[in-house]
């Protein structure tokens, strides 16, 4: 796997990890119980995808997936700004979910064509779960598409899909929170 491929996988993995974390902030407070279960499960899937992608890259680099996920400096993360924001507003959350799934589908489709069979295989596996995420995003999109709050959220968030390289201040705070236990209990995270 060349450096460019590793970077691409890391970019996707970082997006999935950070978005998974942000989506999980809805656990327990989603608009209705069924949605709570569905959205929490989507969040967990995203983190699972991140883990699988980190593992591929980590093996190439002779380190662990955890080290990639948690031990880098905030500026070394490759995620897009759209996944970094703490959005505790349902219309904005759905707008991000919809925009992200649309963009992710295109990216996965390309990854499935990879000449590296391991990458292509993983992309196909991830895509099978993402199909459910897209169905969920589409359903909410159809329901909210005429709501002015939702439409303005789509317009505000869309440009952030392409914003990579520079991060919002929210990423640093999030990583601080994510790695708190890992940093305080190193013996509990290694064996």
């Amino acid at each position: 796997m060349n450096e460019q491929e590793q970077q691409l996988l890391l970019e996707i993995a970082d997006d999935e990890l950070i978005l998974g974390w942000r989506d999980s902030e809805w656990t327990g407070i989603a608009p209705l119980l069924e949605e709570d279960v569905a959205f929490s499960s989507i969040a967990q899937n995203e983190i699972g995808h991140a883990r699988a992608l980190y593992e591929l890259v980590a093996r190439e680099r002779g380190i662990t997936a955890d080290e990639l996920a948690f031990d880098r400096a905030p500026e070394d993360y490759l995620c897009a700004q759209i996944v970094e924001l703490r959005l505790l507003d349902w219309a904005q959350t759905i707008a991000r979910h919809y925009l992200y799934e649309e963009a992710d589908a295109i990216r996965l489709e390309r990854l499935k064509q990879s000449t590296d069979s391991e990458i292509a295989g993983l992309a196909a596996k991830i895509d099978r779960e993402e199909a459910y995420h897209r169905m969920h995003a589409q359903m909410w999109h159809e329901r909210l598409q005429d709501e002015p709050r939702y439409v303005s959220a789509l317009n505000e968030l869309r440009p952030l899909l392409e914003q990579r390289g520079e991060h919002t201040s929210e990423l640093g705070q999030l990583l601080e929170e994510m790695t708190m236990v890992r940093r305080s209990q190193p013996s509990g995270t290694k064996w």
């Binding site: 069924e34 279960v37 569905a38 499960s41 459910y132 359903m139 329901r143």
Partner: protein, 96 residues
């Protein structure tokens, strides 16, 4: 809206009631039912039915007390006891 969900564990088996989901419409019910009853390979198929479409019957009138229509219609134990008493024989041991 409440939807009742029935699931089939394996092909050819009868559908059994799995539970219910609350959803805004059929589309949401589809997605939520998949999530709760189908994503872990526990079902081969689901039936998703609006609760309002389910006909319910609670009362089964038996005006003329035709208890011979029911499986519990004949209190056989009582009748056996009476018959034994008339015949003067005790119940076999172990039978209580």
């Amino acid at each position: 809206m409440i939807y009742e969900v029935f699931r089939q564990e394996r092909k050819g088996q009868p559908f059994q009631h799995a539970g219910s989901v609350e959803a805004a419409d059929d589309h949401f019910a589809d997605v939520y039912a998949r999530e709760q009853y189908g994503r872990r390979g526990e079902s081969t198929a689901l039936w998703i039915v609006p609760r309002s479409a389910v006909m319910e019957i609670h009362e089964f009138v038996d005006e003329l007390n035709r208890n011979y229509h029911r499986v519990d219609g004949y209190p056989l134990k009582e009748k056996l006891k009476e018959a034994r008493e008339r015949a003067g024989t005790a119940a076999p041991s172990g039978d209580s």
